[in-house]
Amino acid sequence: MSTTHERVEGHLSQSLDNLRTDELLLNMGPQHPSTHGVLRVVVTTDGEIVKAAKPEIGYLHRCFEKHSENVDYMGVAPYVDRLDYLASMNNAMGWAIAVEGMVGIEVPRRAEFIRVIVAELQRIASHLMSFGTYGLDMGAFTAFMFGFRDREMILDILEMLSGARLLYNYMWIGGVSRDITPEAIEKIKTFLDYFEPKIDEYNTLLSFNKIFVERTKNVGVIDVETCHTYGLTGVMLRGCGVKWDLRKEVPYSIYKEVEFDVPVGSGEMGTLGDCWDRHIVRMREMKESVRIVRQLIDNIPSGPHRGKVGKVVKVPAGESFSRTECPRGELAFYIVSDGSAKPFRVRCKSPCFLNISTLDELTRGVMVADLIATIGSLDIVLGEVDR
């Protein structure tokens, strides 16, 4: 006579034999909070296992490149803000540097200082957003609130400077649109004093939290070879231990005058290049950004905040490929000018576009929950993916 346990076992194996197993096609997005925008991922699942995850993009395609051919060089700047709407300042700086390089406009030193200060503040704001939403993806709601609270302070400062909260149109060709005020400088200093210790607090709260570490370590591992073949840059590349930062390696603006370190992933919690490594690189980069702003804020030279630029920027015929280090990687503008008032062709090489193209390879054979962890760690902004 068989025991109850054996009977149950037998029943179970019998029912498993009759069980119809089929792959399930699951549409994640385009309206889904954990896809960080209007991204649709067509996921083929076998139970909880992801067999394939094909990203479908284009829901936010606003024809940036076509628009650019129909407006003049100054007119492109506001569109550029809307690419990566979480890091508008960095985008706009990339565009300004690209055009200035073609025309040969000298940017006043005061403007360079203001630009770098503002760009680094924006980098902190962008990484705070990433920190908050990644926490939210992993089920930690408090991090999201903390991240947004501090980001709001930066947005206030940027509003003081430019008059807008998110889409600033602040970095104009030849300088910045408005001068920095003493009140803004005071406010930035107060913010830095407040914010610097907070980074450690957030690390304790989220980055070294046991649950968070368990969710993100050994997940979504990228090696250097994958980075190169997919053309990944920025945090993705640094997360797998490569010390490459354009601000350091091919310095633009006044980055060669400031001291800062380039944090890289080291596989502290698990495998080198996993989601946790990318997360911690972002957290440490915020600290470096604070360091950069501290070095500059007291030494802003006097002078004009914008160089001598005509109403219409005349760009000589030529071609330029100009890269800058944005929070999400290397943003490049390839401008082809035929000497007329409007660009002949503007190409925006967006880092997020290439980052998200790795998703299928990174998530084959993982659990659905790890898919969310991986998408979050890529830190994509769909405005930049679709342009």
Binding site: T229, G318, L354, E361
Partner: protein, 172 residues
Amino acid sequence: MTFEEIQQKLQTKFPQGIQGVEDTVPEKSLKINPSEIVAVIRFMKEEMQFETLGDLCGLDYPALSSSCVAYHLQSYTHKKVVRLKCYLPRENASIDSLTCLFKAADWLEREAFDMFGIHFNGHPDLRRILCPEDWVGHPLRKDYQTPDYYNGMPVPLYFDNSTEPASGSAKT
């Protein structure tokens, strides 16, 4: 490694492959024979430490009646970006795919196909990426006309540039 050295090295290796130098400012570009593009880039990747495909995009030159593909190869070792350009006939343009060398080429080539209608031979999954699958035409071509209707829905026209000859008659 300067641009001239790179040009010299490629010229020796591929006498037929390099068609010349475009002397543009601030950066020059190398004109490559489209039939040898994969061989040239493979050589640059494997022998000259150009590890990454920084960018791949299409261009449209109605005046030259040609389409063009611009490749930006990026080297971490030399801290340099080199631009290679391949000129193709404007109609039914086709060129070999780079997907055998860089996985980044997969999506970048899909975008160039979507926007310019350039066909990439040997691409595993060449379909539109930013526009809907049933979209008609290739929007970044200079002679592109926005259709009046898409699937029975009127396409809104916010402003009309048709009076200006410089950038073609694109309506956005």
